[in-house]
């Protein structure tokens, strides 16, 4: 193990979003990066049927010691990274506590019930206030719009990884990220992902 240490062990991270947002890839990248640093990682994921327009959630347990359950116990998330804002709120309902932190994308993806007019999507102001009231610290970034500048909304997931790195809650560094990208995505795709990582980091004050 290197010099990296955890602020809490196990550190419980939830990455949430909607099927198709690249949630699973973000969790794999983070998992690989932290695994490279010698931490013991367990990731639990819901996908399969849930990827069809449903909520998708990855639970990540990061520990210097043993393997933990792929499901985080209720009320024990330390950080929630949300690719879609109402998904942050949904996760807080089950896994939140007064000390939890959140980084949320501000770009909404309407549930089909909202599209059909059966339910209402809250205003972003209201949603931000609600999330702030349920967290110790919350960051809101428009990762999707920034990703569109890079040519594809899918880069929103890597921007969230960059943003997470910048908050400093976990030992995530740019070099480690680059190493994982080179290994898993290859040389051709690494530069644009590094750019997305940097853009995400810049959005955190």
């Amino acid at each position: 193990m290197g010099t990296a240490t955890l602020t809490k062990d196990p550190y419980n991270l939830i990455i949430t979003g909607v099927g198709g947002q690249g949630n699973v890839l973000a969790s794999r990248v983070l998992g690989n990066l932290l695994s490279d640093k010698g931490f013991s990682i367990t990731i639990g994921e819901t996908f399969g049927a849930s990827q069809r327009g449903g909520s998708v959630m990855s639970h990540m347990r990061i520990s210097a010691g043993e393997s933990w359950s792929p499901q985080i116990p209720k009320g024990q998330a330390d950080m929630v990274v949300a690719l879609e804002p109402i998904e942050a709120l949904r996760v807080l309902h089950t896994y939140g506590h007064p000390g939890v932190k959140v980084i949320s994308n501000t770009r909404s993806i309407y549930p089909v019930g909202v599209i059909s007019g059966d339910s209402k999507y809250p205003s972003m102001d209201e949603l931000q206030k609600t999330i702030e009231g349920l967290t110790e610290q919350a960051w809101f970034i428009n990762a999707t719009d920034a990703a569109m500048e890079l040519g594809n909304p899918i880069f929103g997931n890597i921007m969230m990884v960059g943003a997470l790195a910048k908050t400093g809650v976990l030992p995530i560094d740019r070099d480690g990220f680059e190493k994982v990208m080179l290994r898993t995505m290859g040389e051709k795709k690494t530069p644009v992902n590094l750019k997305a990582f940097d853009m995400g980091a810049e959005m955190i004050n």
């Binding site: 695994s35 013991s40 990682i41 049927a49 069809r52 327009g53 209720k74 709120l89 549930p111 019930g113």
Partner: protein, 644 residues
């Protein structure tokens, strides 16, 4: 090249459970792997197919699970190691062959890997394969973490060769689809030679023919093999104990529930009074090992998913062992401490354990929980499952639903397994009225189509995917044709096994290993069988509806192939065919118009209703550019422009 094959001995990697299993197969020197896609099992075959050429393996996506087991069995009969992989439902499909195979026995090591889905996260039942181990009278082993997922598979092959019979290695969603740290072992560099020996005496297990007769003799032999396995289980390194010498409560667990149980003991802060016996060998149970642990305590909590399989087997053993170990109190599913449906989690196990210990377990701060629940109720609208933007199924069911509604004879659709199962929901206009196993839509429809004799005069329609057609749809279609049933079978051909990740099937020009393969043409097959066949593109709803209506009016068996590639397929994903836009001056969603037909009824995720402008809009980020909404807009307000 991936770490799966390139990773060196001693290297520590983060692997998904299914990758760990695939690596285990490589380290065991498996030559042949066959399976049928099904969540959460699919990545095992996929990963092996990717490295098959380097690893000198033969890997195939078989037409169905029964054939997958047969293909793997042939390798075993020829002396090679083989695996067959499927989701739990597949074991049901394969069970006829399996019941014979366990009598004939195997030669090269052979392991059946079913992946169960407790909680039915990606299934429409939560049946489990463990019950089959008892039915088939074969050894069952279950990994308790990611490292074991790799290591135990290798060990399962040694066991299979030792007893010359099939071994079941069961996984669950939370192992197969979770990831954890795995230390790699060596991949052997061997060149196994296949040879099927059959010239020996009929009872010779190595040189004779491979048959299940004489049944009683072979059944007895099979039971001896099972006894031998039990003896080996007594010494298995995969049965472990952690905890005090005489625990107040002994937790007995296995598989994914191991990680929940370990965490639950931590959550209850009860390491000094609760012991954890983790069993890797769950059928048959190792009697001596169980006796040793039962002696140490009076209270036993059994933690497993889903039904009380281990619990019941343990109780039988405890009764036999009672004179030696004394009377025990069991907690688990029968006592109501652990739920008997759905998947477990650390909280459920902690609550059960706390109850037995006389403690209370309150996972969340009550005040916070109440506040968060209220906020989520008001501000986090439910996200129902739906077809993806640009999904051809939405278009297909739009036409099916509209024609049946206009026909006005209470016609209905019988469905089966695939993304299109969701058509019982509003995203498929609630079209499906029966939904069961693979291929069952057409089988059930075949039955409905013969009920005219008893006065049934409703049009009968079935839907079936292209992969499902080959898996089990064909025999149902044959049945309908031979018996002159009156049905319209709609084949939703999206050119791949869409739900599980575009695995190849016999209708495609490529196989699992990427080799060019003869593609079997579905329309030609259906015509040859004697059906009236039409092919259409569901993204042209007017033509599709005309054709479907014409077929619906005809007697006998008609097949309508609705052909359009899945929006998520590698060749289509991220490439818009059309740039969509809404002319706000023409849109009449309100004010005596269509009453928001596109958002309220068609419900594509790529559309939004703008409450201020009172018009439909396109969500640029979500829209897949299929053009279908332009085809359904009654006022022509939605327009499409071909992307150059």
């Amino acid at each position: 090249m991936s770490q799966l094959y390139e990773g060196k001995k001693g290297e520590k990697v983060l692997f998904m459970g299914n990758q760990a299993i695939a690596r285990g197969a490589l380290e065991a020197g498996v030559s042949v792997a066959a399976g049928y896609p099904g969540t959460p099992s699919s990545e095992i075959i996929e990963n092996l197919a990717d490295v098959s050429k380097d690893a000198n393996m033969y890997v195939e996506w078989s037409t169905n699970e029964k054939i997958a087991v047969e293909v793997a069995a042939a390798a075993s009969f020829a002396g090679l190691r083989s695996i067959c992989v499927m989701k739990q439902n597949g074991v049901n499909v394969a069970s006829d062959f399996l019941l014979h195979l366990v009598l004939s026995g195997t030669r090269g090591g052979m392991v059946l890997i079913p992946c169960d889905d407790p909680g039915a996260l990606s299934s429409i039942n939560e049946g489990e394969a463990r019950q089959f181990a008892r039915l088939l009278e074969i050894p069952l082993v279950e990994a308790g973490d990611f490292q074991e997922a790799k290591d135990m598979l290798k060990w399962a092959f040694e066991l299979s060769e030792e007893i010359q019979n099939l071994v079941m290695f069961r996984s669950v969603t939370r192992l197969s689809h979770a990831s954890g740290s795995v230390e790699l072992g060596e991949i052997p560099q061997t060149e196994p030679k296949a040879q099927f020996n059959y010239k020996g005496f009929i009872l010779d297990p190595v040189e004779g023919p491979v048959v299940s007769v004489p049944v009683e003799y072979r059944h007895g032999l099979q039971q001896e093999k099972l006894k031998k396995a039990e003896a080996l289980f007594e010494e298995s390194p995969f049965n472990t104990y952690a905890g005090p010498e005489n625990p107040e409560v002994l937790v007995i667990t296995s598989s994914g529930a191991t990680l929940y149980s370990r965490e639950a003991i931590h959550l209850c802060n009860a390491k000094d009074k609760v012991g954890l016996l983790k069993l890797g060998t769950t059928f048959p149970l190792p009697t001596k090992l169980i006796a040793k642990h039962l002696k140490t305590t009076d209270k036993i909590l059994v933690v497993e998913e889903v039904l009380p399989f281990m619990e019941e087997n343990l109780k039988v053993l405890a009764q036999e062992l009672a004179p030696e170990v004394g009377q025990k109190t069991f907690y688990g599913k029968r006592s109501g401490n652990i739920p008997q449906t759905g998947e477990l989690n650390p909280d459920l196990v902690a609550a059960a354990l706390a109850g037995i210990l006389g403690q209370t377990y309150a996972p969340q701060d009550q005040e916070y929980q109440t506040k968060a629940a209220q906020q989520a109720f008001f501000n986090a609208p439910v996200r129902d499952l739906t077809f993806c933007p640009g999904c051809p199924h939405r278009a297909s069911f739009w036409s099916i639903h509209n024609v049946l509604a206009a026909d006005n004879r209470d016609g209905f659709v019988c469905g089966d397994i695939g993304c299109y199962s969701m058509a019982f929901l509003p995203c498929g206009f609630s079209s499906l009225k029966t939904l069961h196993a693979m291929g069952s839509g057409t089988g059930v429809a075949s039955g409905f189509g013969k009920l005219g004799q008893f006065g049934l005069d409703q049009p009968v329609v079935s839907v079936c995917g292209d992969s499902t057609f080959f898996h089990s749809g064909m025999p149902a279609l044959v049945n309908a044709i031979h018996h002159k049933s009156d049905i319209t079978m709609v084949i939703l051909d999206n050119s791949g096994t869409g739900m599980t990740g575009f695995q190849s099937h016999p209708g495609l020009p490529v196989d699992a290993q990427g080799n060019e393969s003869p593609a079997l043409d579905i329309p030609t097959i259906c015509r040859a069988l004697g059906a009236t066949v039409e092919v259409c593109d569901p993204f042209y709803p007017h033509k599709t509806q005309q054709t479907f209506h014409k077929l619906l009016e005809m007697p006998g068996v008609k097949v309508l192939i609705m052909r359009q590639i899945c929006a998520l397929s590698p060749e289509k994903k991220g490439k818009k065919q059309y740039e969509m836009s809404v002319d706000e001056t023409i849109c009449m969603g309100e004010n005596c118009g269509c009453n928001k037909l596109c958002t309220r009824v068609f419900r594509c995720p790529g559309l939004r209703w703008d409450e201020e402008k009172k018009t439909a809009t396109i969500d640029e980020v979500i829209c897949a550019g299929c053009g279908m909404c332009a085809a359904i807009c009654p006022s022509g307000a939605i327009t499409r422009k071909e992307v150059a």
